[in-house]
């Protein structure tokens, strides 16, 4: 499974690094508390969150996530977009809720 397929199946909108969507997604992590995501998420997870501020990029880089999906129609802050573009982290957005996004992605990965 990769972000290209997930984007297609869920109609996710790509905000940056659209050329990096081919990377393998092996799991997912849902969380909005950075300390928790730092401790518990894993490499190649797709991170599903509603946090839009720039600190999310550093977390994703450190944990080597496949990318970040912002839910509930949230858009990344300008700083977040700049940072993510520079660091090569794909940022995608959806109007789906975190539960719906995670629910669908989990079942697609584990199909």
């Amino acid at each position: 499974m990769n972000l290209t397929l997930l984007a297609e199946k869920l109609n996710l909108m790509v905000r940056c690094n659209g050329n990096r969507l081919g990377r393998e997604v092996s799991g997912g992590y849902v969380g909005d508390l950075l300390s928790d995501v730092m401790t518990n998420s894993r490499k190649d997870d797709v991170w599903i969150t509603c946090q839009s501020h720039q600190n999310i990029v550093a977390v994703s880089v450190l944990k080597e996530h496949a990318g970040i999906i912002l839910v509930l129609g949230k858009e990344p802050d300008k700083d977040t977009l700049e940072k993510a573009s520079r660091e090569g982290i794909p940022l995608l957005v959806t109007k789906l809720s975190g539960f719906e996004a995670a629910g669908r992605i989990y079942n697609l990965i584990n199909a």
Binding site: D32, L33, L34, S35, C50, Q51, S52, H53, N55, K74, E75
Partner: protein, 140 residues
């Protein structure tokens, strides 16, 4: 005969442990007055967001509720830093919360937006370094 009820609750700044205590009490009191569940929910959401704002940003504040047969009027006054740009503060996702506040699960920047969505009419008056007054009207 038209009935009028008024309640007033102080809210202490920085007291995150008690966040929501006042709103839960308000909901309980209003439920006892026969307010319908949708109105109860909207009122409690509006007062909860106000409570958290006072706790997060002000030293002290007060939530005053007046219930009549026709509507619920909520006045929230605080002696906090005031809002420099009200229009910006109203934007969904805009937040001045620091990391400490975020790590507690607050600070998503939805507060004023949520309050507005729950109100039938809504007014903010604010003065930097003096405080903020929110006036919320919910029709029954």
């Amino acid at each position: 005969m038209s009935q009028k009820y008024e309640f007033s609750f102080p809210v202490e700044g920085e007291n995150f442990d008690d966040a929501g205590k006042v709103s839960v009490e308000i909901k309980r009191l209003l439920k006892g007055l026969g307010i319908t569940s949708d109105i109860l929910r909207r009122t409690a959401i509006a007062t909860y967001e106000s409570e958290v704002n006072i706790i997060s940003y002000a030293r002290q504040g007060n939530i005053n509720i007046r219930v009549t047969d026709d509507n619920i009027l909520i006045n929230i006054q605080d002696s906090g830093p005031g809002i420099t740009d009200i229009e910006q503060a109203m934007r969904q996702g805009y937040s001045t919360a620091d990391d400490r506040i975020r790590e507690m699960g607050f600070g998503a920047g939805m507060g004023l937006f949520n309050i507005k969505n729950c109100s039938d009419s809504f007014e903010i008056l604010s003065e930097v370094n003096k405080g903020t007054l929110l006036k919320i009207l919910i029709n029954r």
